[in-house]
Amino acid sequence: MITKSDWLTVREQLMNEERRSLGAPPTADELLAYRRGELDEAETERMRELLVAYPEFARALVEPFPAEDAKPGEVGYVSPGEIDRQWERLQERIGLPKGAPVVAAADRRVTFWRVFAAVAATLAILVTGWSLQLARRLEQPQLVTLGFPLLEDEHWRGSAPAPRTILPNRPEAYALIVPLKAENPFVEYRLEIVDVASGRKLWTTSAVQPRTDDTFSIVVPGRFLQSGRDYQVVLYGSNGKGEVRLATSTVTVEK
């Protein structure tokens, strides 16, 4: 009776024969090309032989990619603390500036709405023909229409410097208005504000859908922006498949 051990022994013997006959294992480029269906018939046939001779590559080729992170207790789980630790290690390895968490952890953002809710402000902002209605306890925020470079083909490819907007010094709040191209295909948008000098990200919005007139607006409490400093307002678009960085506008607070 042929045993399982006999089968494994024979498999190993055949594999060694095949490897001697075929030579070196496939390269990463060849495997990825095969995976994309870019090889011709002869190359494809040879790749199949190589995958039989080197089954570890066959397994690596078909190993599915996880659609989500592992949960605690599952193999492959990594804690938020470990992610931070690995990030520090990565920063050292590639020479990124340390100590300035440019991005907060994914679920941490400056909830300026919490601040603004404390002063009970609700804003609806219109530009060029809209009516602005405010319900708040503070004085009216400074309206600022941000200048973004013209968007081409859904992405910003302009080489000109980002336009600069001057903000008056420290009002209670700024209402930043983002005019979008009418044909812009993104479903949702997001803004981030980054301090230019330090590179530190100060604040990020959750996803916002544009109004019917292709603009959206956000309100930033004045205390987030210091006089005499430059800030980048970065616009991101999302269409459900992923997020794309679209454009940058620079704002400077007067001294």
């Binding site: 009776m1 042929i2 045993t3 051990s5 006999d6 089968w7 022994t9 024979v10 498999r11 013997q13 055949l14 594999m15 294992p25 390269t27 990463a28 990825l32 095969y34 995976r35 494809t44 199949r48 032989e49 995958l51 039989v52 089954p55 570890e56 590559f57 066959a58 397994r59 690596a60 080729l61 078909v62 190993e63 599915p64 990619f65 992170d69 193999v75 492959g76 789980y77 990594v78 992610i83 990030w87 290690r89 990565l90 390895r93 590639i94 990124l96 440019v102 991005v103 994914a106 992405h155 490819r157 981030e192 980054v194 990200k201 970065v234 498949k241 992923g242 997020e243 794309v244 960085r245």
Partner: protein, 185 residues
């Protein structure tokens, strides 16, 4: 879209925080141990960072997956892969004895019989048509029908058909000993 010109570091960190868990999980699911998987995940993001200027706005996850698979293929090529079925022993396992008992005397008759079976099986498999042989060998490695289909770029039905034909041929050549029993498959 020029990531580098548009504040690449912010994009990079966002990619890292969004996908590190999945990339690490990918490497761990391939049976790689924790520290090695962490190193491979790091390698993946280093490659992402170094290639940022080439990113043209493709779907982020697919882009990163390609990099991670490349890292895995190169790691395997360096001979770092461990056989999936290789037995491992935990050195701290109290059951592991430092002085194992002497091996029993070999049963020469049993060994000769096994060598004969292996010879017959080897020759029989060599006679299989290429398509059947490939499926049969990958099946002997423990790959599922679906995995074999995906690896060889053929349909599931083709895999079933080839394995069925291979089994029939081997049984005819070797008798009942020519197939794995159900619990061996």
């Amino acid at each position: 879209m020029n990531i580098v010109k548009n504040g690449g570091n912010e994009w990079f960190e966002r990619m890292y925080r969004k996908y590190y868990g999945r990339v690490y999980r990918f490497f761990r699911r391939d049976g790689i141990q924790d520290s090695e998987a962490s190193d491979l995940a790091q390698d993946t993001f280093v490659r992402l960072y170094e290639g940022m200027s080439q990113y043209r706005g493709e779907a982020e996850w697919g882009y990163l997956e390609t990099i991670a698979r490349r890292v895995l293929f190169n790691w395997i090529r360096k001979g770092k892969a461990v056989k999936r079925n290789a037995p491992t022993v935990d050195i701290d396992d109290p059951e592991v004895k430092l002085d194992p008992p002497a091996a029993e005397e070999p049963d020469y008759a049993e060994r000769e019989e096994s060598e004969l079976h292996c010879k017959q099986l080897r020759e029989a498999i060599r006679e299989l048509p290429t398509g059947q042989r490939g499926c049969q060998e990958l099946r002997m490695d423990g790959m599922s029908y679906e995995e074999i289909a995906q690896a060889l770029g053929i349909s599931l039905d083709a895999v079933r058909s080839r394995l069925r034909d291979a089994k029939k041929f081997l049984m005819e050549r070797l008798g009942d000993g020519g197939t794995l029993t159900e619990d061996q498959e």
